[in-house]
């Protein structure tokens, strides 16, 4: 039934153009109307929530409001990781389209298995488009992206080329061409590729933009000027933003998303704030006791997807840290996030001195062995020869499993590092809230 058709997308944009101006209370009331149905659905059809709610003695009222919502149990990421298939609805609405299972690539080091369907994909596209609408981006220029991709895909020197932007936009508007390169490419290869392709907009990780700028400076190469720089996937500090903008000579626009629920926050077109995409998710910032943090106080990011009836994600602790801000002077009622903490990466250093985006093969780690649930992991490069793999899992891996996984990690890193394993009970976040999936102790 639902489809990514252009008219449906624009019909949704028509609404988003309006809802963004609603007050916080109006937005929340509309969220609660949907959430009430989602809670019913979760309790009635999803074993994990039936059990979770029962264990917490939670029974939601006929009408949800702010106070009653705070009684809905919060799920730690580990609980959802352990849930496995019981997180999937036994009766996903047929009208929402085919259910497809997905596993997060583990950019937070905590892989999770969840479900998507046509409705969740439709809403993913909606917010992709809103991002363009907000930032008044023309769809005809050539765009480029240097992002994570599996080994063998979009590799240097050529990357991949498409005559159109991705499907999210191309179903609705005529678009220009799109090019992509695997972020694991060497910095020189990346710069060569950018010079050849000359995209008018470039999307990448902040750490990669910075590394390219620094590399160009160090080696005396001229950094190509690019008018629009889209930062994704990692925290973008104000300092990094300023450095990137200056080095590349363009405007930096950031966004905050997650694989499980899509767009969480987009950058305000008029101010530096992030606006929560309240029509996509209910996003809360909670302290360690699950109480809401006031603006200015950092806390855990807890999200609820409004449209995922295939594997409901209700009050899920995302593993990120952020803090709310005061209402934005732009007048939008969408809640404001002032700072997003967490999620950043060091670069891998090779014995020849080159640095690379660390591709460690998260999917292989997440599926390390039959019957093992991986909750969290982190790779630490201790030297130019050795990488330690820390894995928090339901059990330790045996020698054969370790050997198999080590081989996969070596292939992904692109160098035969010696891989050691450790299986700690947990990997705590760093004091600044950052959760790094790759740490390098080697200084270039």
């Amino acid at each position: 039934m639902p489809s990514g058709h252009g008219s449906q997308q624009l019909a949704l944009q028509f609404q988003l153009e309006r809802t963004q101006w609603w007050t916080g209370a109006e937005l929340e009331a509309a969220q609660f109307k949907t959430l009430r149905l989602l809670l019913d659905h979760a309790r009635e059809t999803t074993p994990y929530y039936r059990e979770r709610f029962a264990r917490a003695g939670y029974d939601h009222p006929t009408t949800l409001d702010h106070a009653s919502w705070l009684r809905v149990p919060v799920s730690r990421r580990r609980e959802l990781q352990q849930a496995g298939e019981s997180l999937f609805s036994a009766r996903p609405p047929e009208a929402h389209g085919k259910v497809v299972a997905a596993t997060t690539s583990g950019s937070t080091g905590q892989p999770l298995r969840f479900a998507r369907n046509e409705v969740t994909m439709t809403f993913w596209r909606v917010f992709t488009l809103r991002d363009l609408v907000w930032h008044d981006e023309d769809t005809l220029p050539k765009i480029g992206a240097i992002r994570y991709a599996p080994v063998g895909h979009a590799e240097a020197p050529h990357g991949v080329t498409s005559p159109h932007w991705n499907n999210s936009i191309a179903v609705t508007f005529p678009t220009g061409p799109a090019v992509m390169l695997n972020v694991a490419a060497s910095l020189d290869d990346q710069l060569d590729w950018i010079e050849r392709e000359r995209p008018q907009r470039l999307t990448s990780f902040p750490s990669n933009f910075l590394a390219l700028a620094e590399h160009a400076h160090r080696t005396g190469r001229t950094l190509p000027r690019i008018g629009r720089l889209r930062s994704v996937g990692e925290m973008l500090s104000p300092e990094a933003r300023a450095t990137i903008a200056e080095a590349w000579g363009g405007k930096v626009v950031d966004l905050y998303s997650c694989e499980e629920a899509g767009y969480l926050a987009l950058e305000c077109p008029e101010h530096g704030n992030y606006h929560v995409q309240a029509e996509n998710v209910k996003l809360e910032i909670l302290d360690e006791q699950d109480n809401p943090c006031p603006p200015g106080t950092p806390g855990r990011v807890v999200i609820t997807s409004l449209h995922n009836f295939a594997s409901p994600l209700i009050r899920m602790d995302l593993g990120d840290y952020a803090e709310l801000g005061e209402p934005c002077p732009c007048g939008r009622g969408l809640p404001v996030i002032r700072r997003i903490l967490g999620r950043s990466r060091n670069r891998l250093v090779l014995p020849n001195g080159e640095t690379h985006y660390p591709r460690i093969g998260e999917k292989a780690i997440a599926e390390a062995a039959e019957g093992v649930t991986v909750f969290r992991f982190r790779a630490i490069q201790h030297s130019l020869e050795m990488v330690e793999m820390q894995i928090v899992a339901s059990r330790s891996l045996d020698a054969t499993e370790q050997e198999r996984l080590a081989k996969s990690i070596q292939e992904n890193l692109g160098y035969p590092f010696r891989i050691t394993f450790s299986f700690p009970a947990d990997i705590p976040a760093q004091p600044n809230g950052k959760r790094e999936t790759f740490v390098s102790m080697v200084h270039v």
Binding site: Q8, A11, R18, E279
Partner: protein
Amino acid sequence: MSEAARQTVARRHPVSGMPHPALAELTFPTLTVEPVSRMLALQFQFERSEWWPAARLAEEQNAQLAIVLAHAFETTPYYRTLFTRAGVRRPAEVDAGFLRSLPITKRADIQAAGRDLVSQRHPKEHGPVTFARTSGSTGQPVDFGRDNLTSLMWLACSLREYLWHGRDFLGKIATIRQLKPGEADAPDGARTAQWGSSVASFFPTGPGVLLDVASSLDDQIGWLRREKPGQLVSLPSNLVALAAHAKARGEPLPPIGEIRTFGEMLPADSRAILRETWGGKVTDMYTCEEAGFLALQCPEHDHFHVVAENVIIEIVDEAGQACEAGVPGRVLVTSLHNFATPLIRYDIGDCAEFGPPCPCGRGLPVIRHVHGRRRNRVVLPDGRTGFPRLGERTFVATPGLRVAQFKCVQKSLAAVELQMICEPRPDAAQQAEIARVLTASLGHPFAVSFSFPERILPGPNGKFETFVSEVS
């Protein structure tokens, strides 16, 4: 255009106004299916294109105009002949200058063209063509083709007008207009569970109430007092008469949030009277049956914006030269979406004038005044005035007669004259029947005389009028 200006429409939209959902659990935002999606997709586009600068609008219009002109030339005998005779060669690039070089088509030309105006290769994707006879409010019935595309654009422009003016779709809407006898007679009128299709097909709405405009003013006032609508839609002449009647009786009318007018010219003094009488906003629109919506009232000002996504409007003088802003002239309409019976530089018989660019920031051209479209009211011997219902649908269809044009002139409190351009002339029995229909419709036994002039001239405003009262 600044982002702030673009936001004005979106901010005005009431929170209750979310479209019909496809699924009960997906209402925020609402996941829609056709035809709702397509309609809102059009609105989304309108909400961007209306802020384009005039040059960009013209560029997009010209691209569509080129397609329409090629279609008219290649598939419509009337235009092929017209353009060939005028020695028109289609250039590689169509622009406003080229449009101005094309011959003007008058109503009489189209009447004479008959089926030659119909495209011989109507695009199948535009749906089946139906022919609508314009009601003859200008006295010259003409057949025009409509299809799914023209209907879609009609609905889209209508909905746009509702969105511009930020109406609360859940309120009650009252309409007093021409209806068939028995359809919505006083004292109770008729009720509908929803508003008209241009809103109710896409959004949940409140109820509608209807009353025949032929109801007495007392009946209308009583009905409005009972219904207490949030908005009232009617003909300017009827609303002004209501206001005058209430004032004469010293009984103030209950306030109504918005008074909306259609179908006739709304002069500035009438607008002021309506505003004063009901204390609310007064909104007019400019439409014609042949091409649908021509211009909508600016949400922030009293003048109109041309619906440039639907039509190209030109205003020209008697010599066919473009009039500058502030200079009244004849209104020429070019429809951008009628592929069934293309309308190109069609003189709709109205007089209007452009205005300077609007301070609201929209790039849509401004029409400052529409001078045409005023119907007089019939004056009865007891001094009451009424909307002149003529029964023209009946007498135009008299078997054996081909009525090209007519006009009814009230000569005195006791007599009316019916002017007809008609082949053949009606015989005595037909005249008696037409007189019977006319007096029954007017609601008073006027003496009816007939005349058969060679031409019926437009009124002082440049508009052909079907009813003119010489009794003031």
